[in-house]
């Protein structure tokens, strides 16, 4: 750990106030949403606690605000702040899961392609190329559409969250695969790999031990930027009404619902989730940008 604080990474981190600020914001977002059940002032999923007569309360600082609901309430009397915290939880959960899924898949395919070479490599990379041609949002929509058509509604609703994670994850893996494959190819031809093979060590353990650390940086950068993309993709799908199930509203769902009230003066129902989403994605993007610059000495 000391090594980390000594490192260039930490140095460049402390140098950039924006990066530090975005790290703090990202931390607040993650902590706030992870601990939503503990921190949120209300439980938006507890139907019994909702009071319809409390609906459409504006934020606390306006004339009709109510201290019980700092950011106001929505059309059902749900506390907007709590809804955002729970919504961010879903958004982040989907974002992280999809990114981890894409990373694992991509790294695996990349290693395999680079390591096995030949036909396997050609086929895997061709698939990645083809998929890269298609924008991820389209792939995600298609996956969702196919699952929606293939499964009965009730089943689909139950697994909708996983469908979204899968759809977004599957649409992002080729980026990882390409990077990892590139590094694998470079490493494969290095002398120590050849030497290790001569003394009878398996190639795969060597690859794992040497390639993985080498690609960790790029993978981390792609992963971080991808997290932002995944959160946006989820929000977009949910906005289009084909994302997470309505019983687990994400920020995108909240924006879609709030959108109905945007023109009628109840702006807080959509503006606050919107701002939360932007701030969250922006902070992740800033972190990713910084990470890329910090890990890429050429850009310094």
């Amino acid at each position: 750990m000391r090594g980390f604080f000594d490192s260039d990474l930490w140095w460049s981190f402390t140098r950039s106030r924006i990066t530090m600020a975005s790290a703090v914001v990202a931390f607040i977002c993650i902590a706030g949403s992870a601990l939503a059940p503990l921190l949120a002032p209300h439980d938006p999923f507890d139907l019994a606690s909702l009071q319809l007569m409390d609906a459409f309360k504006p934020p606390v600082w306006t004339a009709e605000g109510d201290a019980t609901y700092p950011l106001g309430t929505d059309d059902q009397g749900r506390d907007v702040l709590s809804a955002i915290m729970y919504g961010a939880r879903v958004s982040l959960m989907v974002g992280f899961s999809a990114t981890i899924f894409a990373t694992l898949l991509g790294v695996m395919v990349g290693l395999l392609a680079g390591y096995l070479g030949g036909t396997t490599d050609a086929v895997l990379m061709r698939v990645a190329d083809i998929q890269l041609t298609f924008p991820s949002i389209l792939v995600a929509l298609l996956v969702d559409g196919i699952v929606r058509a293939a499964l009965p509604r009730e089943v689909h609703d139950q697994i909708a969250l996983f469908v979204v994670i899968f759809a977004i994850g599957i649409s992002e893996w080729p980026k990882f695969a390409r990077t990892v494959r590139g590094s694998t190819l470079v490493e494969r031809n290095k002398e120590y790999v050849l030497a290790a093979r001569v003394i009878g060590l398996g190639k795969l353990p060597i690859m794992l031990r040497h390639v993985l650390p080498n690609v960790l940086g790029p993978v981390l950068v792609i992963g971080t930027l991808n997290l932002a993309l995944a959160i946006l993709a989820e929000a977009t799908l949910s906005f289009l009404g084909v994302g997470v199930p309505p019983t687990q509203p994400s920020l995108g769902t909240l924006i879609r619902i709030g959108n109905d009230f945007l023109f009628s003066g109840e702006w807080w129902i959509t503006i606050f989730p919107g701002i939360s989403l932007i701030v969250m994605v922006l902070s992740v993007n800033l972190l990713g940008d910084w990470l890329r610059d910090a890990l890429n000495p050429k850009l310094r």
Partner: protein
């Protein structure tokens, strides 16, 4: 020369000023067919009733007035005679005769038609002479004129020539000529149809009705569906659209305040209620095993009394609803004010009733709900779900679009669902027959929308009396049936919908409780 040119320009301007009276009209949904007998849905009718006429037309007060028939009489208990209007021509030039009426009624009776309920009692239609038609019913049908007012008249020659002798079968995914083309006798003709994009109607100068009192000056109607509420309202406010039929309730305040835009308010003949599976021995979507809680009147009353209808009216509906305790609003023939009384909202009483019925800890249930059919349908369901949960009935909300929703309840694959019922015939029988008559053993059309399986012999007997009796005897049957409705809670009534229309102040159009705009009466300034 110059003078002549000037005159020509002036004339052109004048003619424009006099003639270009366009109404740009929008609603959330687009008609899914132009076939007049295929889909009995408001979104289809709202366009087609501009193009097609029926034998009898609705008046501005939703009464019955002459249409393609100038007068009609019940010559025998089972035979109605219609005297047709002379000199009427279809938009494509065919002369209108009794043959077209016979054809149209026969067409509406086809299995692929969705208009069966309007012709259910009809045995046959017979052309007496080119301008007289007899309609023979199987049983005496006192409200036949109310029903026939919903059957549009097509040209036999045109339909048969274009292979559309029977209505388009939407279930079998077929496309007929009538899916996109029309040939009516109405005030407007269809001049452009781009599904989902726009539909343009132009004034039929030859329409027989223009001669009558109080008709308007609209020359062109451009209909564009805009599904997104926000976009639709933005379009109205920015002047791209003149008339929005279904403005979101939350925007009414703002629309009223906006310059040049007004809101026409009025009730709709449509009642929103909750229907329950009262027939199955065990509910499909509940944690109660071995018995059906909803079969117990106490539970139904508990559900009823748990609902704070005033809160829903004030918050969810923003005042745009008329809470009710009965089956239909007062515009409907047979309405009884004394029976229009709600069980009071009383959460404690609801809990007590549940305990009494043997559910001290409540139970779990799934509420099926459409999310794009009635005004704020999903929000109403959310509110009810939370109110029910508060008295111990843990409610899972299952909201879905109209298509899957209807498919689901028509499979009877539901335990509780939100439903709305309009009464196009403006007669009580239509509601009782469709919603509360026993499904088994009844006549055609009985209980076709009774997916909760409610069955009460007393109710069935009263419905049969409504069918045949007239005058006070019939009214008495309706009164008794309404009383049973109130006591037995086969459905939980919520409210009658209000249907505000938003439009530019330069347009006047009568607000109609059947939620149909009649552009023949619209005036554009």
């Amino acid at each position: 020369m110059r003078i002549r040119l000037f005159a020509a320009v002036a004339a052109l301007c004048l003619s424009f000023g006099a003639e270009a009276r366009t109404v740009r009209w929008s609603a959330s949904g687009d008609p899914n067919t132009m076939d007049p007998h295929s889909q009995n849905v408001g979104t289809v009718t709202m366009v087609l009733q501009q193009v097609y006429d029926a034998l009898i037309q609705r008046t501005r007060t939703l009464g019955l007035g002459p249409g393609l028939a100038t007068r009609w009489e019940q010559v025998e208990p089972n035979r109605w005679r219609f005297h047709l209007r002379e000199g009427v021509r279809f938009h494509e030039g065919q002369a209108f005769t009794s043959d077209d009426v016979v054809f149209s009624i026969t067409r509406a009776k086809q299995p692929t038609s969705n208009f069966g309920i309007y012709v259910d009692t009809i045995e046959s239609a017979v052309a007496v002479d080119p301008l007289t038609v007899d309609i023979i019913t199987r049983v005496p049908d006192p409200i036949l004129p109310n029903k026939i007012a919903s059957v549009f008249i097509m040209s036999r020659g045109w339909s048969e020539a274009n292979g559309a002798a029977r209505p388009q079968n939407t279930r079998q995914r077929e496309e007929l000529h009538t899916t996109r083309n029309t040939n009516g006798t109405g005030a407007f003709r269809l001049s452009l149809r781009e599904p989902d994009v726009r539909t343009v109607l132009t004034r039929n100068a030859d329409w027989w009705g223009w001669r009558e009192e109080g008709t308007g000056n609209v020359t062109e109607i451009v209909f564009r569906p805009i599904a997104s509420d926000a976009t639709r309202i933005a379009a109205l406010l920015s002047g791209e659209v003149d008339f929005v039929m279904d403005p979101p309730l939350q925007d009414l305040q703002r629309l009223r305040a906006a310059p040049g835009v007004g809101v026409l308010e009025g009730p709709e003949v449509r009642t929103i209620f909750l229907a329950m599976d009262v027939a199955r021995p065990e509910l499909l979507y509940s944690d109660v095993r071995g018995r059906n809680p909803l079969a117990d009147l106490r539970v139904r009353r508990a559900l009823y009394q748990a609902i704070d209808i005033q809160a829903i009216q004030r918050v969810t509906m923003r005042g745009q609803s008329l809470p009710t305790g009965t089956l239909f609003p007062e515009q409907v023939n047979g309405y009884v004010r004394e029976e229009d009384v709600r069980l009071p909202f009383d959460a404690a009483r609801a809990r007590a009733l549940l305990a009494e019925a043997g559910y001290p800890n409540g139970f779990e249930i799934t509420l099926d709900c459409p999310n794009n059919r009635y005004i704020n349908d999903e929000q109403i369901c959310q509110a009810i779900a939370s109110m029910w949960t508060r008295v111990g009935i843990r409610t899972r909300l299952n909201a879905m679009p109209l298509g899957p929703f209807f498919a689901k309840i028509q499979r009877e694959d539901t335990s509780v669902y939100l439903f709305g019922w309009g009464v196009p015939t403006l007669d009580a029988l239509y509601s009782f027959q469709s919603l509360l008559a026993s499904r088994a053993g009844g006549q055609q059309g009985d209980g076709i929308w009774n997916y909760g399986g409610y069955s009460n012999p007393a109710m069935d007997a009263l419905i049969n009396r409504m069918r045949t009796e007239t005058g006070d005897a019939r009214q008495d049957a309706i009164r008794q049936a309404l009383h049973i409705f109130r006591e037995d809670v086969p459905l939980i009534p919520l409210h009658h919908q209000m249907i505000p229309w938003a439009l530019r102040t330069s347009i006047t159009i009568p607000h109609m409780a059947n939620n149909q705009p009649y552009f023949r009466w619209a005036v554009v300034n």
